[in-house]
């Protein structure tokens, strides 16, 4: 298998883009990545998206995006794995290059979710859960994470406020990212005043939906010796429903995918300088840190309290705001994470730049942990 490199990065700021449709957002990010790479044509396009068919009345996004980019005739297809869609698109792009099947691939994650009513958007997101045994009980995505968070607090003896460092770090870092949806640091007082959306989860322990698109241009590493290289790429799955897991406080798919990625890369947790994890909810950030070997079971929150997740800490996370502050356009999120990690490795992260990032890891979670995608990158 050939090694794969990231030659170009493109992002659209996460916002309410009233003037741009799903195809325009995807094409904007795609063109930005092509321009950044100095490449005009590709052999394939993989699009990550979750809710386009339901909320935007638009499926077949592979062809839609190829059409919007003026790349008629090119091979293109959409990948869907709920909030893990974009990470999954990245994985497919890597397989296409690594196998020798393609020489240049554009991967784009896109989501447009701010023009529907709240119940419709919530219902569309909930389709990531078990239709017959979770959704029919009226549980929401926030609700599932609230169930996990309450159990976590119960088993390990934490209070709700103990999760605050995740929100404070994300918002402080988002303030330094021009593409972030929220660009204001928050105080402990602001965190405390956050409205409870599904007890014990408050507004600041959740992430906002938004419109957005992020794209990467992938090529064989042998053709781009100075580009950021992909050292590891792995997807793993778990039971769809939280209630079917032997231990609802353990992200088995995270453990499996990170172990595969570590093995491919020949590295371990101690080698990772930056971890762009999937903080859709604070408790998910804690579970990810534990599953990936940065903290013992039940110690993920403690790690955050000790300051290890800060930009100057042992394992910085969410360096450009994470899902909480950059925003969570669900099917695009996985590629925002990889775009941000790439910029950090290249020294192009601007005010959010972290010193000495040589190896970065990203982890993109679909649903409540049923699909988990891990990537490890090096400059």
């Amino acid at each position: 298998m050939r090694e794969v490199a990231i030659l170009g990065v493109g992002q659209v700021p996460v916002r309410e883009h009233w003037d741009r449709s799903v195809r325009h957002l995807a094409a904007d990010a795609g063109r930005a990545a092509l321009l950044d790479a100095g490449v005009a044509q590709v052999d394939g396009i993989y699009v990550g998206n979750m809710t386009g068919g339901r909320l935007n009345h638009q499926r077949q996004l592979g062809a839609v995006v190829a059409d919007a980019l003026g790349m008629w005739g090119v091979e293109a297809v959409k990948m869907e794995a709920a909030c893990g869609s974009a990470g999954s698109a990245m994985r497919q792009g890597i397989i296409a290059i690594a196998s020798g099947e393609m020489e240049a691939v554009l991967v784009i994650g896109v989501e447009k979710m701010t023009e529907n009513g709240f119940p419709q958007t919530t219902a569309a997101l909930t389709t990531a859960a078990d239709a017959d045994y979770e959704i029919e009980q009226g549980v929401t995505f926030v609700g599932l994470n609230a169930l996990i968070m309450r159990r976590y607090m119960y088993e390990y003896g934490y209070e709700r406020r103990d999760f605050a460092p995740f929100a404070l770090n994300a918002h402080a870092n988002g303030a330094k990212n021009p593409n972030a949806m929220f660009r204001q640091p928050i105080s402990m007082e602001t965190y405390d005043n956050g409205r409870i959306v599904s007890d014990p989860i408050s507004l600041f322990d959740a992430s906002p939906i938004g419109d957005g698109a992020a794209a990467l241009l992938l090529v064989p590493a042998e053709k781009a010796p100075r580009a950021v290289r992909v050292l590891g790429s792995a997807v793993a799955t778990d039971t769809l429903a939280v209630h079917d897991r032997e231990d609802p406080l353990s992200l088995k798919a995270s453990e499996l995918s990170v172990q595969r990625a570590y093995a491919q890369a020949g590295v371990g947790p101690a080698d990772i300088d930056l971890f762009e994890l999937h903080d859709a909810f604070s408790v998910m950030a804690a579970l990810s840190l534990e599953a990936c070997g940065f903290a013992e079971r039940g110690e993920g929150v403690r790690l955050a309290q000790e300051g290890a997740i800060l930009p100057d800490g042992r394992i910085p996370i969410c360096s450009m705001g994470g899902l909480k502050a950059r925003g969570h356009p669900v099917g695009a999120t996985g590629l925002y994470q990889i775009a941000e990690a790439t910029l950090q490795l290249q020294g192009r992260a601007g005010a959010a730049q972290i010193d000495g990032v040589d190896i970065a890891m990203t982890q993109n979670i679909g649903g409540s942990g049923a699909t988990i995608v891990t990537h490890i990158l090096q400059k």
């Binding site: 029919e136 996990i148 599904s198």
Partner: protein, 133 residues
């Protein structure tokens, strides 16, 4: 309308019919035809007692389409006495009453109405176990 879908799930919704594994004896709900424990085929039907305890719980304020009129409502992970954990609404109690470990029992209640003229979907919810009161 999805009539056949709701019909197909009636044994589970009204009676908590799951499965048991021939190989290791583990009980499964929802039924999935393959054992979560030993991966052997598991297709022998088993009707759960409907008794269990609250494993975790939350309140839904911002409900998805179809449930807006019921909000706020409580949802729990319930650990059934036979082992499996299931997701279900809590009923006949208020937020202050519930705690992790509380004994609960299954009852049949209205889950939602399938649109203005659609069918009314019934299924299991859990209330405080009467025997334990």
């Amino acid at each position: 309308m999805e009539v056949s879908r709701h019909w197909r799930l009636q044994e589970q919704r009204y009676k908590l019919v799951g499965e048991t594994c021939d190989n290791c004896g583990v009980k499964l709900f929802p039924p999935r035809d393959v054992c979560l424990e030993c991966e052997a085929p598991a297709q022998e039907l088993y009707t759960f007692t409907g008794l269990g305890e609250v494993f975790s719980y939350t309140t839904i304020y911002d409900a998805p389409a179809g449930f807006e009129h019921d909000a706020p409502y409580m949802v729990a992970l319930v650990k059934l006495d036979e082992g499996p954990v299931i997701t279900a609404q809590l009923t006949d109690m208020s937020e202050g009453d519930v705690e992790i470990g509380m004994p609960v029992e299954m009852v049949t209640r209205k889950l939602r109405t399938d649109g203005e003229e659609g069918m009314i979907v019934y299924g299991y919810k859990f209330r405080p176990a009467l025997a334990a009161v």
